[in-house]
């Protein structure tokens, strides 16, 4: 196995949507003590950094915004990242406590065209999701995690090379208890290599079996018991916003990230969707608790950008009753992806794909019924000889009409003065038990030169305008 480990060192600040504009830091607390675990660029510029005591940070920068960490948000973010990563591997796992994600890439290297190509795809994808991260590659989960802490670490491919690869790293990076690390420091050990060189039985006697088991997993002497993450069968991603948002525009950025995650999830399963539900949960104390948008696409879809554009159109058209505090994307049903979404699609399929994307976009903004496809119906009455049909169920082999018909049909309109009639009438009859209809259709020309299609209702002898020769 070969593990790619990703460490999201700014996860707590980067998962906040909308992002904090001013200097902001996320803090953890233990009793009355609070310390910074992650901060944004604006805070870093004022020499604020992780592990710093919250009080000292406030002394440095009184305007610093302190935010309590949300472990559930962190977990949800890592779950979404793990789901996204499944497009590259069947074994993905994460540790929400340590902000670490692991992807087994040994089995995927060949398929994705080698280590560099695969790494390029993964790192670009995660960058697009809006996270910064450090990577480490090693044959064991724990060794790859350690290498994320070393800026210029080379990938370690062989189990026997692990020891050499990590020996020079500072000892405090080991994922063991603080009390053990304190003792190591007192002994004078600075580097991991010193711990690895110590007799294993003595370590076990002094610190208990946990440390030796950890070292065995680290060096590949014992298997790591971690199970692969399995995303649930239906997709649901919840994102609590960092503050209540009145407008729709600030929702678009987090939405883009959420759809990016969804795209990875769909790719990992080789699936697509046609229906997606976006729920906007509103501030409490409001009559309307939430607004739900139902997106339906004509063709199966999994492209994040296309979905984002559609939802953006819908959002721009939706009046939200109150400020939004939470976004939920859920997909209950999945469909097979269109062949057109694979890489080798031809021009015609591409064009059809663009059309359905485009029409979906128009429908999202103008309303579902605004985009019409036309069909013929076998009916004598001119106003019933056509219909609006679904594009998907389009039937092209309707019976052709032999008689001449005007290009514009209008609602029958009673007319008082009759223009010049041209030619012989066309009798149209319709004998139904409920209504008996007889009409004589004429072409006529007005004195101004406009050509009309009109009929005389035989029973009432009244004249109606029914079409124009456009």
């Amino acid at each position: 196995m070969l593990w790619l480990s990703l460490h999201f060192s700014s996860l707590a600040t980067e998962l906040r949507e909308p992002r904090d504009v001013g200097p902001a830091a996320v803090v953890d607390r233990h009793g009355s003590r609070r310390w910074i675990i992650s901060c944004n660029d604006a805070a870093r510029q004022a020499r604020i950094h992780s592990h710093m005591d919250a009080t000292s940070a406030l002394v440095l920068m009184p305007t610093l915004k302190l935010i309590d960490r949300s472990r559930s948000q962190e977990r949800r973010a890592l779950q979404a990242l793990a789901s996204w990563s499944e497009q590259f591997s069947s074994f993905v796992t994460f540790d929400a406590q340590r902000w670490l994600l692991w992807i087994e890439i040994g089995a995927s290297l060949h398929y994705f065209g080698g280590l560099d190509a695969l790494m390029g795809k993964i790192t670009q994808g995660i960058r697009e999701l809006g996270y910064t991260f450090a990577t480490g590659i090693a044959p064991t989960i724990e060794a790859s995690a350690l290498l994320t802490q070393h800026k210029d670490a080379q990938p370690v491919h062989q189990t026997k090379a692990i020891k050499l690869g990590i020996s020079a790293l500072p000892v405090h990076l080991l994922a063991i208890s603080i009390s053990t690390l304190d003792v190591f420091r007192d002994v004078g050990w600075q580097y991991i290599g010193e711990v690895l060189n110590a007799p294993r039985d003595q370590l076990a006697r002094r610190f208990g079996p946990d440390i030796t088991q950890y070292l065995q997993r680290l060096l590949g002497e014992a298997a790591d018991p971690r199970e692969p993450y399995r995303a649930p069968a239906t997709y649901r991603r919840r994102l609590e916003l960092s503050f209540a948002v009145d407008a729709t525009e600030p929702l678009l950025f987090p939405l883009r990230r959420m759809l990016g995650e969804l795209q990875g999830y769909l790719r990992g399963r080789d699936m697509a969707l046609q229906d997606l539900q976006l729920t906007l949960v509103h501030e409490k104390n409001n009559a309307a608790a939430s607004t739900t948008l139902q997106l339906h696409t004509t063709q199966s879809q999994r492209d994040a950008q296309a979905l984002w554009l559609l939802l953006r159109e819908m959002l721009e058209r939706t009046a939200l009753p109150a400020a939004t505090v939470e976004l939920i994307i859920s997909v209950k049903q999945f469909v097979a992806p269109d062949i057109a979404q694979l890489d080798f699609f031809d021009d015609k399929a591409k064009r059809e794909q663009s059309w359905s994307n485009l029409l979906d976009k128009l429908r999202a903004r103008l309303g579902t019924n605004a985009v019409k496809h036309l069909g013929l119906k076998d009916d004598h009455l001119p106003e019933k000889a056509w219909c609006v049909i679904d594009a998907e169920k389009q039937n092209t082999d309707s019976a052709p009409v032999s008689a001449q018909r005007p290009l514009w049909l209008i609602q029958p309109k009673l007319i008082q003065s009759l223009p010049n009639l041209i030619g012989k009438p066309e009798r149209i009859e319709c004998n139904w038990w409920q209504d008996d209809m007889q009409r004589d259709y004429y072409i006529a020309e007005t004195p101004e030169g406009s050509r009309w299609w009109l009929y005389r209702d035989v029973q009432s002898s009244q004249w109606y305008l029914h079409g124009l020769w456009g």
């Binding site: 985009v371 056509w386 049909l409 041209i422 101004e448 406009s450 050509r451 020769w469 456009g470």
Partner: protein, 208 residues
């Protein structure tokens, strides 16, 4: 006059000489009417440009004028989009005219802004064969936006405008006034950038 013709002939037969109206339009589509082709840039409906059609009234063959080019586009598998037509584009008549209904899309927008927005989206995508848009827009900016969007794709854009706007300024490449004349459609090309000088008159189509 004879001299002008002689010069024109000479220019046409001399290689390396390009006349202005030939290079102006990147590509164009046969209108189906040679008399009309002769007046237009590139001898046909210019692609990726704004073409204004300004009928005096409805029911004078203002749509039939486009049937030849629409038929050609449909045959090539390109779609035709009607945006906010004033009436129902009657499917039996379209089918009779040789336009397969599966190539026709009818878009109904709530107002003029949305109609133009739809046209822009479709133009940018560049996949439609022709877009027929009915709009009352008067602002120069609105028309320019359409013109710019048209340039991005390779669709034909026909903008039907009310006759009252005949004399208003317009960035369109081609503007044609349509009037009935003794059972024929009389098309007056009042502007044709890169085509022949304006105010030439044509009688081109039997309506009935």
């Amino acid at each position: 006059m004879q001299r002008a013709e002689a010069i024109a002939n000479l220019l046409r037969t001399t290689p390396d000489v390009w006349s202005g109206h030939e290079v102006a339009a990147a590509s164009s589509r046969d209108t189906g009417f040679s008399a009309l082709n002769a007046l237009l840039p590139g001898h046909g409906w210019p692609v990726s440009s704004l073409i204004e059609l300004i009928p005096l009234m409805e029911g004078i063959g203002e749509l039939q004028l486009l049937l030849p080019v629409l038929r050609t586009l449909c045959r090539e598998g390109r779609d035709v989009v009607f945006i906010c037509p004033p009436h129902i584009p009657y499917p039996p008549a379209l089918a009779n005219a040789g336009l397969p209904l599966n190539r026709i899309i009818w878009i109904d927008a709530k107002n003029d802004d949305e109609a133009r927005w739809s046209a822009e989206q479709i133009l940018r995508e560049g996949i439609a064969g022709a877009i027929l848009l009915w709009s009352n827009a008067t602002k120069d900016l609105s028309l320019r936006r359409l013109q710019v969007a048209a340039r991005e794709g390779d669709s034909l854009l026909f903008l039907y405008r009310p006759y009252a706007l005949l004399h208003s300024a317009s960035p369109a490449t081609v503007r044609i006034a349509l009037r009935p004349h003794a059972g024929l459609l009389h098309a007056e090309v009042i502007k044709s950038r890169g085509g022949k000088a304006a105010s030439t008159q044509l009688q081109l189509y039997d309506v009935a």
